[in-house]
Symmetry: C2
Subunit: 114 residues, 2 copies
């Protein structure tokens, strides 16, 4: 299977503005930001999309959400607020087939969410 | 601390259209749907918002995402796609102070996500 852009970012083969990394997740700025702060956080394990995660991925998914909140707090968004978004499949505009959580903040986010 | 609307839904004290429930999560239709399918899935544990989740909540958060994907698939959204949204704090329009994941599908979701 071809490696995705995000795998290449994690491997430092494609440059990105990485803001956080640990053994199982990596967070970097979206190159096409939709808000003053727009960061992506991804599991290092190449799960293509949420619907293909398995029961064995439960702990990495939980860690992904906990670290998304940490990254948002470190970006100064904890008090003002932030929106997390996961896109699955064509109706949601899923782009790169490597599970990723969008963290958006620094402005008022409207409703509906797209 | 006052119990939230979602705690009352889980306790069957407030009616809701519950579509899935297990020991640790409950999913029900949003009363103000923003897409043809709009379901909320919440942990039964009353975590006020993602930023207040603790390390000990990792497994329930992972389970929440896995079950969100299951609920979306059972709603027929797996192939067409769906968007998951978590709102934290005022800029995101967080409403009920009980962590919840929005599952939206059945139409094309625009970008940016609000």
């Amino acid at each position: 299977m071809a490696r995705t852009l995000f795998e290449k970012i994690i491997a430092r083969e494609v440059p990105a503005n990485i803001v956080f990394e640990d053994d199982s997740v990596c967070a970097f700025r979206d190159i096409n930001p939709q808000a003053p702060t727009h960061i992506l956080i991804v599991p290092k394990k190449p799960i293509p999309r949420l619907g293909e995660a398995k029961a064995e991925d439960q702990s990495v998914l939980g860690h992904l959400l906990l670290q998304a909140a940490e990254v948002a707090a470190r970006a100064g968004l904890d008090k003002t607020g932030y929106r997390l978004v996961i896109n699955h499949g064509p109706d949601a505009g899923e782009s790169v087939p490597h599970l990723h959580v969008h963290i958006l903040g620094g402005r008022h986010m409207k409703w509906p969410p797209g």
